[in-house]
Chain length 225, copies 2
């Protein structure tokens, strides 16, 4: 299970546990400017009682090309309607491919046959590596990459329980499953105290999700009391 510290992957852990899985959670220190998400990932792994949580050090900054890892400003807006069409500047090249490849390696060693990732095709349609066709192609490749595929064992499945849900549906579902979203962070550009900026694409989608779900938003925003 890929665990980012955000709202989606926390919900994904709860979904996997509801389906009866013991969760082995994997997070990455990949040079993200918002490393507070790793603190959230650790706290969330603990509160959700995952079987094991590992943080892997990889440095995607060396390739450049993204506002999440390079010295490029994260775009800020007042409303979801102001978000840019197409692939956002916050896209990190091949990030989900790399993350899933590590998950595949660990799954092979654990002899696990199920990998969970909290991607969402609705809110993040601009990211190529969140599309259903990508996930499906990764699963096909993964089954050919590993011993499981060679030995004819039960094939690996990439689970994406949130793929077709709106942010409001995710929040509603996670709340039912007992997630405290106050312990998650979605902001692309939090301040040094871990408070959310409230104006990046991710903050706007999260705010809108809580509003539409009719659930109080527990997010700590910068400048709020």
């Amino acid at each position: 299970m890929l665990l980012s510290g955000g709202l989606d992957s926390a919900t994904c852990v709860a979904e996997a546990q509801a389906a009866g899985f013991a969760v082995y959670a994997l997070s990455f220190r990949y040079g993200q400017r918002h490393s507070v998400e790793l603190d959230c990932a650790q706290a969330m792994a603990q509160s959700l009682k995952v079987a094991e949580h590992r943080i892997i050090d990889i440095d995607l900054r060396q390739f450049g090309g993204s506002a999440l890892t390079a010295d490029i400003d994260v775009p800020k807006h007042d409303d979801v309607g102001d978000m840019v069409e197409g692939i956002p500047i916050t896209y990190v090249p091949a990030r989900n491919t790399i993350f899933l490849s590590y998950a595949l390696a660990w799954a092979e060693v654990l002899e696990a046959q199920d990998i969970y990732i909290g991607v969402n095709a609705l809110d993040y349609s601009g990211y190529p590596d969140c599309r259903p066709a990508f996930i499906s192609a990764f699963q096909t490749m993964a089954n050919l990459a590993t011993q499981a595929g060679v030995e004819g064992e039960a094939p690996l499945t990439i689970h994406t329980p949130l793929l077709d849900m709106t942010k409001a549906q995710i929040i509603t579902r996670g709340t039912e499953l007992g997630i405290d979203y106050g312990g998650t962070i979605s902001c692309y550009d939090p301040d040094e105290n871990g408070a959310a900026c409230g104006h990046c694409d991710s903050c706007l989608l999260r705010k809108k999700g809580f509003a539409e779900a009719g659930i109080p938003d527990p997010t700590r925003y910068a400048g709020a009391p």
Copy 2:
């Protein structure tokens, strides 16, 4: 281009250059016990005048499960016929998937559309992630993972010029292209001076290749004068 410091990837660089490409070479410090291969990769990158060479630090040891990264003995034999059938203990879980994912990230930033990997289906049929079906599935996935796939640009190609060649054919071809194989290392378990053990699977295949090609073997073996 994935560059390991071995015989195959050196030949692969020369093949890509012969096809007119400027080569951006990528090597990995992945916790391999035979890290002398990185010295060879650097020297080879220099002598073949690649456009750029990067070494990425990743630690596959944390997942365990392979004689190449863990504290498991590398099997030794006297003859190719003694090699074990099936997946060797030197297989590193998901290694080529992870390596190719990094290559994909760098390719995307470079706006390169061609990735070379020196895998070989004949001599290494035991490794699931060297099979043609794996490479083909990775290419399909890669084209869905990236901006190129979204924007309808020319798709990425994973090139495997050595896929169907015997070790002898690879050595013959590389020699034609001017490779000095004395600067490469194939051994899974070299000594502290970088001399090859002469008895691991990789050494045996290499020896056999030079013998069959009728080309003098420039390998420095441990204990040889």
